[in-house]
């Protein structure tokens, strides 16, 4: 019978964290920016159908980096959580804070109890009536949760991208400005100087979807043509 080697809990957790970090670092970055018009979510994603950004509820969106199957299962679980909550209470009782804390608990449980941790990093964004009421939560593979202001950058080269976004971020950006800023950040982790609209996945949470589009669902996915128009527009 083979003897199990003793591994200290510190070492075990460190190994798991290193494993998860390595997985996430391979992925391309995602930028979430809060601005005057709402919240813009921009990802570098060549696939038009395997999304990294998704709608969770009326005012809540989801963005992720890492392994597709893992964050996709988390996204679906989030949609189920939000829909059950909204159906059994009321639509306005579904909040990003509640969702983020459920995500934090599941990620934390997987990190400690499962064979391998999830190699994902998530952002949960909720658009409010004014910019001060926007909520951006960042969730990491070990279940830690951070309440961010202004913007979130996740993924392989997050430090470099984050630097570029930070220098350009202002409160009063329009969607066009926020998306241009996010793209400016995303190109810093590439060799090429430019990202075509086809390689981008862009969605927004409209702050005024009720009056502008007549729906309480603020999430809107932008087509390649929309993105090209916005990128071409001069600020």
């Amino acid at each position: 019978m083979t003897q199990q080697f003793y591994v200290s809990p510190e070492q075990l957790m460190k190994d798991r964290a290193d494993f998860a970090r390595k997985g996430i670092a391979r992925g391309r970055s995602v930028v979430v920016v809060s601005c005057e018009d709402g919240i813009a979510l921009v990802a570098e994603n060549p696939s038009p159908s395997l999304h990294k950004i998704g709608e969770i509820y009326d005012k809540i969106a989801f963005a992720a980096v890492g392994k597709y199957n893992e964050f996709e299962s988390l996204r679906q679980a989030g949609v189920r959580y939000a829909d059950v909550r909204g159906y059994s209470y009321d639509r306005e009782d579904v909040t990003a804070r509640g969702l983020a804390s459920v995500y934090a608990q599941s990620l934390g449980a997987v990190f400690t109890a499962e064979q391998k941790p999830f190699e994902v990093e998530l952002a949960v964004a909720e658009v409010g009536a004014s910019q001060d009421q926007d909520h951006l939560y960042r969730l990491t593979f070990d279940g830690s949760i951070a309440d961010e202001h202004g913007f979130i950058v996740m993924g392989g080269q997050a430090d470099k991208v984050s630097g570029a976004v930070e220098t350009g971020w202002q409160r009063d950006l329009s969607f066009a400005g926020a998306i241009r800023l996010a793209v400016k950040g995303l190109v810093t982790d590439n060799e090429t100087a430019d990202l075509p609209a086809k390689a981008l996945e862009v969605a927004v949470l409209d702050r005024v979807s009720e009056s502008s589009r007549g729906t309480r669902r603020a999430f809107r996915r932008l087509t390649d043509a929309d993105v090209m128009d916005l990128l071409a527009e001069e600020s």
Partner: protein, 273 residues
């Protein structure tokens, strides 16, 4: 081992909100269990009933309208009830029957469609939506047997075929596609009579709205459970239109004008209807 895990994952993957509730939170479904141990046959419960809904196709889509009355036996339970709802961007649903269960079913149906759209990233086909609604109505069959039936009327714009379509149902969930126009509820008989005379092919949307309001007026004239336009309280039918651009609720101001014209012309004719 691998095989069973894969099977388990596949079995758990559902895009249906109703299936998810059935599995995890069955107590939240409006039609979980029949009322325990009660035998209500012969003495129906005194609960509000929703009445007449009409729907018709027109050149660019469909129009659906419902009156604003709910009755409880001989009592008017509500003058303000709304019985026509948008189901999603391209479809609407009107309900007749037990109001409490019908409104919950509508809410469930709305979440069901939105849930599918969010999980799958695409809209359900119009036939798919109609079938899901049929399954929900069948789920309510035990309650219907005890006198708490819900009968919906479903209509939407088929984006693939580019036409508006209507669907009616029976209590067992049977789904029937209707041509031209249809009505459900206690005043349906009279509304359908009016529709037969007023409807013609290729109505414009505005004409179809006027026809819908007038057929409800005729239903209210002969059916005590259907409410007519109420100029005193400024209450008008709830009317939705669906076309290629999506579903839209017709504004009260527009309906007030249409109802006013109908009442005026009937008064001017000085006839027994």
């Amino acid at each position: 081992m691998q095989e069973t895990t894969a099977n388990k994952v596949a079995a758990n993957a559902t895009s249906s909100f109703t299936e998810h509730l059935q599995r995890d939170r069955p107590e939240l479904l409006p039609f979980t269990r029949p009322l325990a141990g009660s035998d209500l046959a012969g003495q129906p419960l005194q609960v509000p009933h929703a009445t007449t809904i009409v729907a018709m196709t027109h050149a660019g889509g469909i129009v659906m309208a419902g009156d604003r009355r709910a009755t409880m036996g001989n009592i008017i339970a509500s003058r303000h009830i709304e019985k026509v709802f948008p189901a999603d961007q391209y479809s609407v649903l009107g309900i007749a029957g037990t109001a409490g269960i019908a409104i919950d079913l509508t809410r469930l149906f709305q979440v069901e469609l939105e849930h599918y759209e969010k999980i799958e990233g695409t809209l359900l086909s119009l036939d798919g939506k109609a079938n899901r609604l049929g399954a929900m109505i069948r789920g309510n069959l035990p309650m219907a047997m005890q006198g708490l039936a819900v009968i919906p009327l479903f209509a939407g714009f088929d984006t693939a075929a580019g036409v508006g379509r209507l669907f009616s149902y029976d209590v067992t969930g049977g789904r029937y596609e209707e041509q031209e126009h249809h009505a459900v509820g206690s005043g349906a008989m009279f509304a359908r009579g009016a529709l037969k005379k007023l409807w013609r092919p290729n109505l414009t949307e505005a004409e179809a709205i006027a026809v819908a309001v007038e057929s409800l007026y005729d239903a209210a004239d002969d059916d005590s459970a259907t409410g007519g336009p109420d100029p005193v309280r400024q209450l008008w039918p709830v009317v939705y239109t669906v076309n290629r651009a999506g579903a839209r609720r017709v504004a009260d101001r527009e309906l007030a004008d249409i109802a006013g014209t109908i009442i005026e012309s009937r008064a001017a004719a000085r006839r027994e209807a």
